[in-house]
Every structure is written in C-alpha cells, then in structure tokens.
C-alpha cells in the first residue's frame, strides 16, 4: 500500500527521465548497430552489426580524440584538485573577509562556460590578447596565435577549464577540511609538530577521501568538455583539441552519421558509467544515508 503511494510521487520525474535520458541511451545502443547517414538518405537504415564499432576502433581521428580527451581529463582534474586544495586551505582559516573570498571564488563557477570561453579566446587573441602582451609587451612581431597552435591550443583549453572549475574542487575539499576537529591540531602543537608536519601527517591523511571525491567529480565532469572547445577552437587546429564530445557532435549533427555517431555515444556512455560506478563504490552505503558527498 505504502509503496503504491510512493509510485505516484515518483512517476512524473520518472516519466521525464525515462523519455529524455533512459530511452535515448538504449536508442543510441540500437542505432549503433545500423548504418544510417542523413546526408545519404537513399541508403536507408541498414543493420550492419558491429561494423560501426569496428570502424571506430580503426578510425585514427577517433583514437586521437580519445587520447586527447584522456590527457585533458588527467591534466585538468589533477591541476584542479591541487589548486582546489590550496584554495580550500586558505578558505578554512578564519580571517576577516573570509565570506567575501568564498563568494569571489565562486564567481568563475557561476559564469556561463560559453562566456568564459569567449573571454579566454579574447585573452589568447593573436593580435591584441592580454596573453601576448604579458609575454612580449609591445614587440608585436613576436606575438603568438595560441589557438592556432597544435601545442598551445590544448593548453589554452586546459587553462579555461582549470580557471572555471578549480573552485568546485575547493568546495568539496573545504567540506572535508571542516570535519577535522581542532583538538587534533592542538594535540599536534603540544607534541611540537611544525606546520608542514601537521599538514603532512594530519591534514592530508584525513582529507584523503575528500581529495579522491573531488578528483572523481572533476574527472567525470572534464570528460564532458564541449563548450570550451566549440567556442575557442572548434576542435582545431588539425584536430589537436578534438575531444570526444566534440567529435561525436560533429559526426552526428554536422555530418549526419547517425549510426557511427551512436557508436561514439555508446563508447562515451560506457566510460562515464564506469566512472559513475567507481564513485558509487567509493562512497558505498554512505551515499544513500547521507545523500551525498561529505
């Protein structure tokens, strides 16, 4: 009886989730076994088994895209957790203006990604960007075009992501820091521990779960990078920033390769599901009791 009532409360949300999230996942899976190209409608929708996956595994652009994405995810999430830790350590002290600093740190997080992407695109502009001016001053002949450079363009995307989301990592780590009781530090001080020893042997082990959590969250999120690439580089130059989400978008929506695009979607989904399961595994039962990351 009780559970039947619960059903009615869940139903509206389940309807939306089922139609716009669950069904699409299965639909992608089904379509990935077909050849369906919108620009070649006369080919129709033909079942081709695993052909799309075979193509995907041998497509040099896709493999390059996977490599780029994994490097991007690894580099940004580590940098973000490191910077986030630094910010959290400062925010955890009590000082005048702490509330203001906390709000200030949230500003990059609140800015629409499209806006921050345009902002970095302007800063990295080849003729009047701040980046060039800070590096070379008025010697305009030395100015670089970072977004048209195969090495600098991915770095520019990394800068854009790290700037925007380090504060999110900081908040998760800060929540971890706040659970450490002051008595532990007092005891350590009595034992004559230096600041570094306190950090190394007390703080760090105690916030390890929070650090891992922040790392995992950033990994999951960095995997979704799209806006930055769309605005700043359009995947270029020469595919140097062609991350998986952008490649999938291009194949599906610009080239109309529905079957092949679906195979990319399924690949991306499996990766993210694996990450989600690691997350659930890590938090274990706590996730349902506390409702979240604390």
């Amino acid at each position: 009886m009780k559970n039947r009532a619960a059903f009615w409360y869940i139903l509206p949300s389940f309807f939306f989730v089922a139609v716009f999230s669950l069904y699409p996942i299965f639909s992608s899976l089904r379509l990935s076994f077909y050849r369906l190209i919108l620009t070649l409608p006369w080919l129709g929708q033909k079942f081709v088994g695993l052909e799309n996956y075979r193509d995907l595994a041998t497509d040099p652009v896709a493999l390059h895209s996977l490599a780029i994405t994994l490097i991007f995810v690894g580099v940004t999430s580590c940098l973000e957790v490191a910077l986030g830790l630094g910010m959290a350590l400062v925010l955890n002290e009590s000082f005048r203006g702490r509330g203001v600093l906390r709000a200030v740190v949230l500003v990059p997080w609140a800015i629409p990604t499209v806006v921050s992407s345009q902002m970095w695109r302007f800063i990295f502009n080849d003729r009047y960007g701040l980046f060039n001016f800070l590096l070379f001053g008025e010697r305009t002949s030395l100015y670089l075009a970072p977004l048209a450079d195969r090495v600098l363009a991915p770095l520019a995307i990394v800068v854009g992501d790290v700037w925007k989301t380090s504060s999110f990592a900081a908040l998760i780590i800060l929540a971890g820091l706040q659970t450490i009781p002051d008595e532990l530090y007092e005891a350590a001080a009595i034992d004559g521990a230096t600041a570094w020893q306190k950090f190394r042997h007390l703080t760090l082990p105690l916030i390890k779960p929070a650090l891992l959590l922040a790392l995992l969250f950033r990994t999951i999120d960095a995997f979704k990078v799209f806006d930055l690439v769309f605005v700043m580089t359009q995947g270029g130059p020469a595919d140097a920033t062609n991350v998986l989400q952008f490649y999938g978008y291009k194949k599906t929506f610009a080239e109309g390769m529905i079957g092949y695009g679906s195979a990319i979607s399924v690949g991306v989904f499996c990766f993210s599901l694996a990450l989600a399961l690691i997350y659930i595994r890590m938090l274990g039962a706590r996730i349902l009791e506390k409702g979240a990351a604390r």
Binding site: Y9, A103, P112, T113, L171, I280
Partner: protein, 270 residues
C-alpha cells in the same frame, strides 16, 4: 603562518578568480580603438556604445528574454516534480527507491552526446525543435537528478514528528507535503531552485542542437555563435557576456552560503 604571507595567498586567490573576467568587463566599456590598442589600456573610457549595438544590432534582448523564459519555466517544473520525488524518496523505504536514486546519479554523470542524437529525434518527431517546450522538456529531465539529490538531502533533515501528527489528525499525505513539508523545506527548495536556474541559464549543448532559429535561441547560443565573418566584434561579445553573467554574479554574491551548501550537500555536479 606569517600574516603577510597569508594575505598574499588571499589576494592571489581573489585575483585568480576575478582578474580574467574583470578584464573582459573592462573591454566592454572600451571604444573600438581602445580594444585593439597595444599596449592595452587598463582603464577604459567608459564608452557604452558596445552595449547599445549589442542590444540594437545583435538583438541581445531577444536572447535574454528566451533565456529567462526557458530557465524560469524549467526551474519551476523541475523543482515541482523533483520535490514530489524527493518526498517519496525520503518518506517511503524500498530497494526500488534506492535504486532509482542511483540511476539518477549515473544519469547526471553521462556526457550529453550519449543521449543527444535520440533526444533530437524525439523532439523532431513531436515537432518540438525550435520551440520553448522542446528545450524546456530537455532541461527538466537534465536537471531532475540535480534537483532531486539536493532536495532529498534537505527533506531528510526535516523532523518527521510534525508531519506524523498531521497525518494522525487526518491530513492526507499530499496535504502534509503541501502544508507542512514545503514551507519547512523552503530554504532547501530555494537552494535547489538557484542551482537548477544557473544550470538552465548556462546550458549550451542542447540549446545548440534544439534551437537553430535565432529568434528562439538562448544567451549561451547567441554568445557562442556571435556573427563575425572577418573580424570578431569583441566589444559587443564582451558587452553581451557581461549582461549574461550579471544576474548570476548577483545570485552568487547574495546566496553564496546556500549555493555552497547545495553544492556540497547535493554534490551532483552543479
């Protein structure tokens, strides 16, 4: 830690967070000649021309209106539906409900491209591409995991006794929800609303594929696709970006505590 060293870190963090965007805001107040000047001018001449041309020539007001309609509607519906679900998830107990919560969590972690193609096809078959209801429907389902997770944490903290007393007095469950749980959970509902609103205001991927008609596009799409064949209209882009971001900065500064609480409690991504 030495006091001056600590102050140095505080200033460094503040500068890191603010300076890049401040630079962009200052750009929006420059004159066309000041934008391309080398060395760049630090203090602009507070020229409002780019705001005028962004609003008049590039139709920024239309984008702002679309964003406001879409984000507000999606937030209201998502929070209403999400509260029902969160209520059931905290007041009833069964393995299925727990499983549902985990499914929501997994869904919130899936990159957009994994569902974008079929979502486009569904909206296309409903003839909902380039409509408000199309993008709003997509945003409701995308924001529900976030809304439900945050609301669940807040609903869990409410004392069950008051509700129980009302139920004993002959209140129906729905009345108890409407008259007792909602008012008591108002701060939590407000927090979840802010986060869902920010999500819907900033979302780009689905807006890009669903809204191809410029008169219906939202701000992120307008700003990303700012027309500029040969030279980019940086002044106008900076002006539009400043206007698109202003409401969010105000929200963040005012409700900083709530947002932080919502993010670290819900901790589904924001």
């Amino acid at each position: 830690m030495k006091k001056w060293l600590f102050s140095f870190w505080v200033v460094l963090i503040a500068a890191f967070s603010l300076v890049p965007f401040l630079w962009f805001v200052l750009t929006s107040w420059k004159s066309p000649a000041e934008i391309t000047a080398i060395p760049p001018r630090l203090v602009p001449s507070f020229h409002w021309g780019f705001y005028r041309s962004a609003l008049e020539q590039y139709g920024l007001l239309g984008y702002i209106r679309n964003s406001a309609i879409v984000a507000a509607t999606a937030t209201c519906v998502s929070i209403a539906i999400g509260s029902l679900a969160a209520y059931a998830l905290t007041r009833f107990h069964s393995a299925w409900l727990k499983f549902y919560l985990l499914v929501l969590l997994c869904i919130s972690m899936v990159p957009q491209i994994a569902i974008a193609g079929p979502v486009w096809r569904i909206l296309n078959s409903l003839d909902w591409l380039n409509t408000y209801q199309g993008i709003v429907a997509a945003y409701i389902s995308l924001s529900l995991p976030l809304a439900i997770w945050i609301l669940t944490t807040f609903f869990k903290e409410l004392p069950y006794e008051i509700e129980e007393a009302a139920l004993v007095d002959g209140c129906t469950r729905f009345q108890a929800l409407r008259k007792i749980v909602f008012p008591l959970a108002a701060p939590g509902i407000f927090t979840a609303s802010i986060l869902v609103f920010i999500f819907a205001w900033n979302e780009f991927f689905f807006a890009l594929i669903v809204l191809t008609n410029p008169s219906l596009q939202t701000l992120p799409v307008g700003i990303a696709l700012f027309p500029g064949e040969y030279t980019m209209p940086w002044g106008e882009i900076a002006a539009a970006s400043t206007m698109a971001t202003l409401p969010l900065i105000v929200l963040t500064l005012f409700f900083q505590r709530r947002i932080i609480r919502g993010l670290s409690a819900g901790a589904v991504k924001g």
